[in-house]
Amino acid sequence: MKALVIIRLKDGILDPQGEAVRQAVRALDKAKVSNVRIGKIIEIEIDGADKTTAETSVRAMCDKLLANPVTEEYQIVDIS
């Protein structure tokens, strides 16, 4: 099984990295880029588990370590 998890900063939390990139892409392109926010993608491969078990353990990993609930939210976008 392979799981794909996206981790984002919660809305309202300042993302200085995203802001620096926003300024850079504005310089690159005349499009009016009003906001850029940067997150993480984590790929997790799990051996010998069915989809439900894999999802339960990925969720536990996210809750315990991969995302910080104070500042981030996560989404398991795919498990297959």
């Binding site: 939390i13 300042l14 370590l65 991969l66 104070v70 500042t71």
Partner: protein
């Protein structure tokens, strides 16, 4: 009375901290390895600065899964004092022993500088011997030092007098100009609900030698340890 300086792979202020506590202040201090399962026999635990486990994922996150952090949680639950400095502060927030989180500085730059911080409360085992309002000069050296928490948490911290230190100018004025990293309300250090766990971003252990720029860190450590001895 015995103090523990906890070290992880990637800690790099452990030597400075032990030097300050042992040779500048004369206390009985030992290093404690991250694999240790208990802090029995120690009276206070320090989590030093550095980049524990490379600070991969988020600063301090991976260290929270070590046996010694479980031991620190038990130690703190018994009411024993725990102080996290810089990466130690990040570890304590990641371990939920302190509320909030420390994110990238608003400037996106690693900041290595001397700052002034104001003692905001004397009601803690860490600052009881320091008058409220005392301005201390200490270095900071961090990439992720911007203290954030939700509005309710900040309100609670302020109402319960749990802000330990705030960045200020030389006259003790807290304003945006004195805030190096974009921390909410200029927060440089906080206390836990029971007031026995504290974290701060500045490095008092790097301000314990005149030759290295200042001795205000000694005042800070003396305040802590004299409370323990009392």
């Amino acid at each position: 009375m015995k103090l523990a300086v906890i070290r992880f792979p990637g800690s790099n202020c452990d030597h400075d901290l032990l030097h300050a506590l042992k040779f500048r202040l004369g206390y009985d201090v030992e290093y404690v390895w991250w694999g240790k399962k208990t802090l029995d026999g120690y009276d206070m635990a320090f989590l030093s600065g550095g980049f524990s486990f490379g600070d991969y994922l988020r600063a301090g996150a991976i260290a929270t899964l070590t046996p010694v952090v479980a031991a620190v949680s038990e130690f703190a639950a018994k009411g024993k004092p725990v102080l996290g400095i810089c990466n130690g502060f990040q570890i304590l927030t990641e371990a939920r022993l302190l509320p909030g989180a420390l994110l990238h500085n608003s400037s996106m730059k690693f900041i290595c500088d001397d700052v002034n911080v104001k003692v905001e409360t004397a009601n803690s085992p860490f600052t009881a011997k320091l008058p409220k309002g005392e301005v201390l000069s200490m270095p900071i050296a961090h990439m992720e030092g911007r203290y954030v928490a939700n509005d309710d948490t900040i309100k609670k911290l302020e109402e319960e007098d749990r802000i330990l230190l705030r960045y200020c100018n030389g006259d003790g004025v807290v304003d945006d100009g004195a805030n190096p990293n974009g921390s909410i309300n200029g927060i440089a250090g906080i206390l836990s609900e029971k007031r026995n766990v504290a974290g701060l971003m500045p490095h008092p252990e790097r301000a314990c030698e005149k030759l290295l720029g200042g001795e205000d860190g000694i005042k800070f450590f003396q305040s802590i340890v004299s409370q323990l001895q009392a």
